[in-house]
C-alpha cells in the first residue's frame, strides 16, 4: 500500500496503459465478432469456417503470438500494437462463438414473425436478433474482458504489459511490495470492469427482469 502511494504517478500511468491495452482489443474484437457471428449463424459453411478458425486461434499460446506477430503484420518487435493485435485476435476467437451461439438461441418463431412483418435482413438483425442475443453476448464479453486484462501482463516481456510491468520490475529489483501491488491492482481492475459490464448488460436488457404476470390468465370477456 505504502509503495503504491509513494509511486502513485507511475501506478496511474501503468493502470491507464493497462486499460487501453486490454479494453481496446475487447472493443475491436466485439465489433469484428458481430458480423462474423452473423455469418456463422446464417450459413453452414460460414459456421464451419469461422468456428474452426476461431478454435485454432484460441489455442495459440499468447507469448508465441506476441513474438511472431511483428514479422507477420510488419511492426517492430517493441510496439504496443503487437499486444493490441494479439489480444484482439484472442477476444475475437472467443466472441465469434458467443455471438453465433447467442444468435442461434433467438427463437426461430420470432425471427420468422419479424420477416413476415416486413423487416429486411439487416434491420431485422440490428433491431430484433442482436438485441435478443445481448444477454449471451454480455456473458461472453465478461469472460473476454477479464481474460484480456490478465493476458496484457504477458506483454511486459516485450515492454508493454501495463501493470504487468510491476510484476517483472518487482522481481528484478527485489521489491515484493511492488509485485503484490501489481497483482492486486490487476485483480481489482478485472473486478471493476466485470461489474461495469454486468451493469451495462442490465441496463440494455430491462425485459430480462420483467416480472411474470401476477394477475393470472386472461379471463374470457375481461375487457376494459
Amino acid at each position: 500500500m505504502d509503495w503504491v502511494l509513494r509511486n502513485s504517478g507511475l501506478v496511474l500511468e501503468l493502470t491507464r496503459e493497462h486499460l487501453v491495452l486490454s479494453l481496446l482489443p475487447v472493443l475491436l474484437g466485439l465489433v469484428l465478432a458481430i458480423p462474423l457471428g452473423w455469418l456463422a449463424n446464417r450459413r453452414s459453411w460460414g459456421r464451419t469456417l469461422t468456428l474452426n478458425a476461431a478454435g485454432f486461434l484460441y489455442t495459440l499460446p499468447s507469448l508465441a503470438l506476441f513474438v511472431f506477430l511483428p514479422p507477420i503484420i510488419g511492426t517492430r518487435i517493441l510496439d504496443p500494437l503487437n499486444v493490441i493485435v494479439a489480444l484482439t485476435v484472442y477476444v475475437l476467437a472467443l466472441l465469434v462463438r458467443t455471438v453465433a451461439d447467442g444468435l442461434s438461441a433467438v427463437p426461430e418463431r420470432i425471427v420468422d414473425s419479424a420477416t413476415a412483418m416486413g423487416f429486411r435482413p439487416v434491420r431485422r438483425f440490428l433491431a430484433v436478433e442482436l438485441p435478443i442475443a445481448v444477454p449471451v453476448i454480455v456473458a461472453g464479453l465478461r469472460v473476454a474482458a477479464v481474460s484480456s486484462i490478465s493476458l496484457v501482463t504477458v506483454g511486459s516481456v516485450i515492454g508493454f504489459g501495463g501493470l504487468g510491468k510491476m510484476f517483472t520490475e518487482g522481481f528484478q529489483r527485489e521489491i515484493p511490495q511492488q509485485t503484490v501491488a501489481g497483482i492486486v491492482l490487476v485483480l481489482l481492475l478485472a473486478l471493476v470492469v466485470d461489474a461495469l459490464l454486468v451493469l451495462a448488460g442490465r441496463l440494455l436488457t430491462p425485459w430480462e427482469r420483467a416480472q411474470q404476470p401476477t394477475a393470472g390468465r386472461a379471463r374470457p370477456g375481461a375487457r376494459r
Binding site: 418463431r109 420468422d112 420477416t115 413476415a116 416486413g118 436488457t205 404476470p213 386472461a218 374470457p220
Partner: protein, 359 residues
C-alpha cells in the same frame, strides 16, 4: 381477394407440400384452411406473403402477382399472426404493436398512439402498454399478436393456428372477439387451423386439405357438414357433424308453445314445471310443482335460452334439451320470455330448414 391458380410447392428435398392448388379467398371474408398435420396448410398460407416461394402456378393478392412485388413491401401490407404470437420479447407491448407503422416510416408518437387505440380494440387494458410480453398471459399475448397484425390497417390478414396454444375457454373468447372485430373491419382473412370446430365457427368458407397438399373440398361450413364430398372429408369433419350442422340451419319457422309462468312469492305450480320471471319478464329459472310460495331456494337454474329470430336450429334444440322441464325458453330481443320450444318442434321444422339452405 387472394387467388391461387395451379399453385404447387415442391421443397428441395422432393416433398410436395402443395399440389396444384386452385382457390379463391374472397375479399372481406374469412377463409379457413383445415386438414390433418402436414397437409400443406402453413405452406399455402406462407406463399401468400412470399415467406415460401411457389414452385409453379400463379398467386395474386388483389390482382397483383405476389412474385412481382418486393417481399418486404408486400409483407408490410399483409398482417400475420402465428401460434404463441411470436412477439418480440425485448419490446414493450405498445412497441410490439407499433412495429409495422414504424417500419413504414410513421413517427414514433403517431405509431404508439395508434397502438394504444388498437389495444382497446382487441380488448386489452391500456395500462399494460409498458409491459413486456413475458408479463402477459397466453391469451393476452395472442390479443397483442392480433393488434400488431392490424396496426398498419392491412387489407389482408394471415393467421396460422393463432389460438391453438391457449386453453379452450380463452380460445373461445378469442374466436368470438375475432368474429366481432371482423364484423367491424371486413378484412380478407386466411385462417389456418387443424380444429374442424374452429374452422366451421370462424369460416365464411372452409377449405379442407388432404395429406399431399391437395384440396379435398372448399365450401361454406353448413354445406361441408351436411354434404361432405367423400369419405376423407366425412371422417375429418367428425362424428357429430349432423348435430353440428344444425348450427347452420335457421329456424324462424319453429312454432312457439305456451309456458307456465310465475313470479317470486306466487304459489308453486300444482303439477309440472313453471318458469320464474323477474319484474321485467326475463327468466330467472324453473320451479317444480310443490306446496308453498316461490322463493330463491326453490328456483332451479334454467338451460340455455333460445333467442327468437336470431337463433339456429342447434340453439333451439339445445335450449329444449338443457331445460329441466324439456321445454326450451324462447326469449325476444330484449331477453323477455316469448314462449317455449320443444325438441319435437325443432325436428318438425328440420325438413323445411334443409330445403331453405339447399335452395
Amino acid at each position: 381477394m387472394i387467388e391461387f391458380r395451379g399453385v404447387t410447392k415442391r421443397f428441395p428435398d422432393g416433398t410436395v407440400a402443395v399440389d396444384d392448388l386452385d382457390l379463391v379467398a374472397e375479399r372481406g371474408r374469412i377463409t379457413v384452411f383445415v386438414g390433418p398435420s402436414g397437409c400443406g396448410k402453413t405452406t399455402s398460407l406462407r406463399m401468400i406473403n412470399r415467406m415460401v416461394e411457389p414452385s409453379a402456378g400463379r398467386l395474386e393478392v388483389d390482382g397483383r402477382d405476389v412474385l412481382s412485388a418486393d417481399p418486404a413491401e408486400l409483407r408490410r401490407g399483409i398482417g400475420y399472426v402465428i401460434q404463441q404470437a411470436g412477439l418480440f420479447p425485448h419490446r414493450t407491448i405498445v412497441d410490439n404493436i407499433a412495429t409495422v407503422p414504424m417500419l413504414l416510416g410513421r413517427g414514433r408518437r403517431a405509431a404508439r398512439d395508434r397502438a394504444r387505440e388498437l389495444m382497446e380494440t382487441v380488448g386489452l387494458d391500456v395500462s399494460m402498454a409498458g409491459r413486456y410480453p413475458a408479463q402477459l398471459s397466453g391469451g393476452q399475448q395472442q390479443r397483442v399478436g392480433v393488434a400488431r397484425a392490424l396496426a398498419a390497417d392491412p387489407p389482408v390478414l394471415l393467421m396460422d393456428e393463432p389460438f391453438s396454444a391457449v386453453d379452450p375457454v380463452v380460445r373461445e373468447s378469442l374466436q368470438d372477439e375475432l368474429l366481432r372485430l371482423q364484423s367491424e373491419l371486413g378484412k380478407t382473412i386466411v385462417f389456418v387451423t387443424h380444429d374442424i370446430d374452429e374452422a366451421v365457427k370462424l369460416g365464411d368458407r372452409v377449405a379442407v386439405f388432404r395429406v399431399g397438399g391437395r384440396l379435398a373440398q372448399y365450401d361454406e361450413p353448413g354445406v361441408l357438414l351436411s354434404r361432405p364430398v367423400d369419405d376423407f372429408v366425412d371422417t375429418f369433419v367428425g362424428r357429430d357433424r349432423g348435430y353440428r350442422g344444425l348450427g347452420f340451419l335457421t329456424s324462424d319457422t319453429i312454432p312457439l308453445g305456451p309456458l307456465d309462468m310465475v313470479s317470486m312469492g306466487d304459489p308453486l305450480p300444482d303439477d309440472g314445471w313453471a318458469v320464474v320471471l323477474d319484474g321485467t319478464g326475463r327468466p330467472l329459472g324453473w320451479v317444480a310443482a310443490g306446496d308453498g310460495p316461490v322463493t330463491e331456494d326453490t328456483v332451479v337454474p334454467g338451460g340455455s335460452l333460445y333467442p327468437v329470430g336470431s337463433g339456429s336450429l342447434r340453439g333451439a334444440l339445445d335450449a329444449a334439451l338443457s331445460s329441466p322441464s324439456g321445454q326450451g325458453v324462447a326469449v325476444d330481443a330484449e331477453g323477455r320470455v316469448a314462449g317455449s320450444v320443444t325438441a319435437d318442434a325443432v325436428l318438425a321444422a328440420l325438413p323445411a330448414a334443409r330445403d331453405d339452405s339447399a335452395a
